[in-house]
Symmetry: C2
Subunit: 163 residues, 2 copies
């Protein structure tokens, strides 16, 4: 019914509010938007844990539950429970009372997440956002940035840094 995808009207009216109060998107498209967000929510905590574990291992030599808990700002019990989940998902290996290791799959996820996180963070800084704020925003935004947008962000960073 609506043609949101095609060229914006060449004669935008108010330029400030031009296409913003368009009709609602068609139902199926609208639904898919919310669905995508719900799906992201299912994986984002997992990604953050795996990414943090990878960071702890590479920067500290090992990943201990207590460090995860204090970095995440949650209780050790919460971390312990989550580690069981990560184990079941095949992302980490752990022996009771010992520190954690990432499986091959876990390492892959850690790298991917870290790379994406870095692009978003660098993009925000390149855009002019204060480092502190950029870090906070990136931690949440990263899980909702498509590969398409990520590529554009990377291009933006490259252009900024080149000049």
């Amino acid at each position: 019914m609506s043609d949101n995808d095609k060229a914006l009207p060449p004669t935008a009216k108010s330029l400030k509010k031009s296409y913003c109060n368009d009709a609602l998107p068609p139902i199926e498209e609208h639904t898919r938007q919310y669905e995508t967000v719900r799906n992201a929510h299912e994986t984002e905590l997992i990604e953050d844990y795996v990414e943090l574990i990878g960071d702890l291992i590479s920067h500290r030599g090992e990943a201990r539950a207590a460090d995860i808990a204090s970095r995440m700002g949650v209780s050790q019990a919460t971390v312990s429970k989550m580690i069981r989940r990560l184990n079941e998902l095949g992302l980490v290996t752990s022996k009771p009372y010992r520190s954690l290791f990432l499986t091959a799959e876990g390492q892959k996820m850690a790298e991917t997440s870290r790379a994406r996180h870095d692009i978003v963070l660098h993009f925000l800084r390149a855009l002019g956002v204060n480092d502190h704020t950029a870090r906070i925003d990136a931690e949440g935004m990263e899980h909702h940035v498509s590969n398409e947008t990520l590529a554009i962000m990377q291009r933006f960073i490259d252009e900024q840094t080149k000049r």
Copy 2:
């Protein structure tokens, strides 16, 4: 211990990976990042519901539970339960089996959310992201964009549209 906030070294070394694999952020700052994300998660569904209800009212004349359910892509039972919550939070008023209305507070939240959502969406398009992708990304990103970043996005949009 680290000074992430202050001026980046004027002689950045690799420019591609310069500050990305720095040491981990100091614990308290790191914790605050994750905390901020957790807080956003508590309010984001609420915001999406309220924003959608506002949109339905202004574009359709009324907000019915069935429309919310089909747009959100969830069951009517889920919507019914959520409406009770919105009611308890003082964001909507509703009589059984009738359509919904936003309270003054609800309207304020709807406007704020809608405005923020629009800025993020327009920003992504101005950046060169395809409309369809931009809509999907915006739906998730919007809840994790600080006011500081939002202002910068708005400035970017203005500059893009001016030239």
